[in-house]
């Protein structure tokens, strides 16, 4: 991870090295994502078959038909939502222990990507639900509502991060929320098992491996490609968060330098020129 994200400030400050978010590694990773997305598109929309099986009546077929293709985005987005927000929680825990900007930036980056993925999961699920279930949304379904709660909790985390505050105070309160919000992840993930036969949402297909051939391959490819995309996004977002922290720190240093310069000015000049405006009259 240090190779991709830069070294922890505890060991070596990357301040001089990191001036933008791109690097050779991210460009290679980005190219891999592009190739993967094209391959996934071909498999999902052209090569893989629609979900269609013989029904119990002669000549009838049952299944999700072409709507199943949404699964190749929906399931990977859901899986990587858990990973991203779980990483945010883990980084938050380490931040509370080590108090390092590196871990705070990682938690911030993962939360932001996780919230976007969670939104993709919710939207693709709704688009899938309308033709398959016959409804866009079902308030009585535990999986759906807990996923929405997870999204709102981490959207609130991001909003809390944007409340103006000292970097340490902001990072500390965000870390507490980031860590606490993680309790929702296993609830969302296991809800279809814990409330089995009580939810509209189906149980996990991959855990029971009730999928095969090209459908299985496309789903695994989707998970892999989405993983590369998430890694690429997290690396860029981490570096951006790091640069933001650097800019903030530089701003504070500049402000202190400015005040030091003012304090070093002759007392007479200070008293005569900026006594009322700046309020820094010397004794």
């Amino acid at each position: 991870m240090s190779f991709l994200l830069g070294r922890s400030p505890d060991r070596s400050p990357p301040r001089a090295a990191l001036t933008h978010t791109g690097s050779r590694t991210t460009r290679i990773l980005g190219a891999g994502v592009l190739v993967g997305v094209v391959g996934l598109g071909l498999c999902a929309f052209i090569f893989s078959p629609p979900d269609s099986r013989p029904g119990p009546e002669a000549g009838t077929r049952i299944g999700q038909f072409d709507v199943v293709r949404l699964m190749y985005v929906h399931v990977p987005a859901a899986i990587w939502t858990y990973v991203a927000l779980g990483t945010c929680a883990a980084a938050s825990a380490v931040y509370l222990w080590r108090r390092s900007t590196w871990w705070d930036s990682l938690a911030h980056a993962c939360a932001e990507i996780g919230v976007v993925l969670c939104a993709v999961t919710l939207l693709t699920g709704m688009i899938w639900g309308r033709p398959v279930w016959g409804t866009w949304w079902e308030w009585g379904d535990v999986r759906l509502v807990t996923t929405l709660v997870l999204f709102l909790a981490y959207a609130g985390y991001l909003a809390l991060r944007s409340v103006p505050a000292a970097p340490e105070a902001r990072a500390r309160r965000a870390a507490i929320l980031g860590l606490g919000g993680a309790v929702l992840i296993p609830i969302v993930n296991r809800s279809v098992e814990w409330w089995e036969n009580r939810t509209l949402h189906q149980q996990s297909t991959l855990e029971e491996l009730r999928i095969e051939d090209l459908t299985l391959f496309t789903l695994v490819l989707g998970i892999f490609v989405m993983g590369l995309l998430v890694l690429w996004l997290v690396v860029h977002r981490f570096r951006l968060a790091w640069l933001e922290a650097e800019a903030e720190s530089a701003g504070l240093q500049a402000a202190l330098a400015e005040r030091r310069a003012e304090a070093a000015e002759p007392v007479a000049a200070g008293a005569g020129e900026d006594g009322a405006g700046e309020g820094s009259a010397g004794p």
Partner: protein
């Protein structure tokens, strides 16, 4: 601090909370940055009073940013509360599988609840209830079946073999315009439903590969 600044100008809202904004545009709460600066300033004799709003050089005042951010936080908390209340309210409606619903029929008399089951092959019949479009069929779960009349249009993927979740109540008797349920239980009760959702399972394999040939030849089960 060795100096007490005399600033007659009123402090901008938020500044009193310790927003120290420097030329670089960074805002820092008094809790951290000012505290660090104070120790630094103790020896240097720096002016540590927060700068006025006009000194912030076009940057959005932290107060506005704080209000917007806190509103978003409040909206998230409100949304979570609303979602959980809706979940508890909706989930309070009994959700029973067909075998449980049949077993508890007397207890559920007149009560609205949800029932899950799989439509039985060859049982689906279109009918009308009070001039409204309806569909009559039977559902089964764990070998126990029940007859259903659903008023309204069923979902697109409604078909025998695909589980459904129905919302309604038990009615004793037979539905109007329908003497018997085709391939049904016909035990003098039916489930009157007005809300149907298709519950798709997690099966993506062809579990009955031989059935296609049988179906093509008309050899699949054609009776009840």
């Amino acid at each position: 601090m060795t100096e007490t600044p005399a600033d007659p100008a009123p402090q901008p809202a938020g500044a009193g909370e310790g927003d120290a904004v420097g030329a670089g545009g960074a805002a820092a709460d008094g809790e951290g940055a000012a505290g660090a600066a104070e120790s630094d300033a103790g020896a240097a004799g720096l002016d540590l009073t927060p700068r006025r709003r006009e000194d912030r050089r076009g940057r959005r005042p932290p107060t506005a940013r704080r209000v917007i951010s806190l509103l978003v936080v409040a909206a998230a908390v409100g949304g979570i509360t609303f979602a959980l209340v809706r979940l508890v309210t909706d989930a309070s409606l009994f959700f029973l599988n067909t075998d449980e619903a049949v077993e508890r029929r007397d207890e559920l008399s007149g009560q609205r609840f949800r029932m899950q089951g799989t439509p039985v092959a060859h049982s689906v019949t279109e009918t009308r209830v009070d001039f409204e479009q309806a569909v009559a069929f039977s559902v089964s779960f764990e070998g126990v079946s029940a007859d259903v009349v659903h008023v309204g249009s069923p979902p697109d993927l409604f078909t025998p073999g695909v589980p459904v979740v129905l919302e309604g109540r038990w009615i004793e008797g037979v539905p109007p315009d329908l003497d018997t349920f085709a391939c049904g239980v016909n035990d003098g009760y039916y489930f009157a439903s007005d809300h149907m959702l298709v519950k798709h399972d997690n099966e993506y394999r062809d579990t009955y590969p031989d059935r296609l040939d049988a179906a093509g030849a008309g050899g699949a089960a054609e009776g009840c």
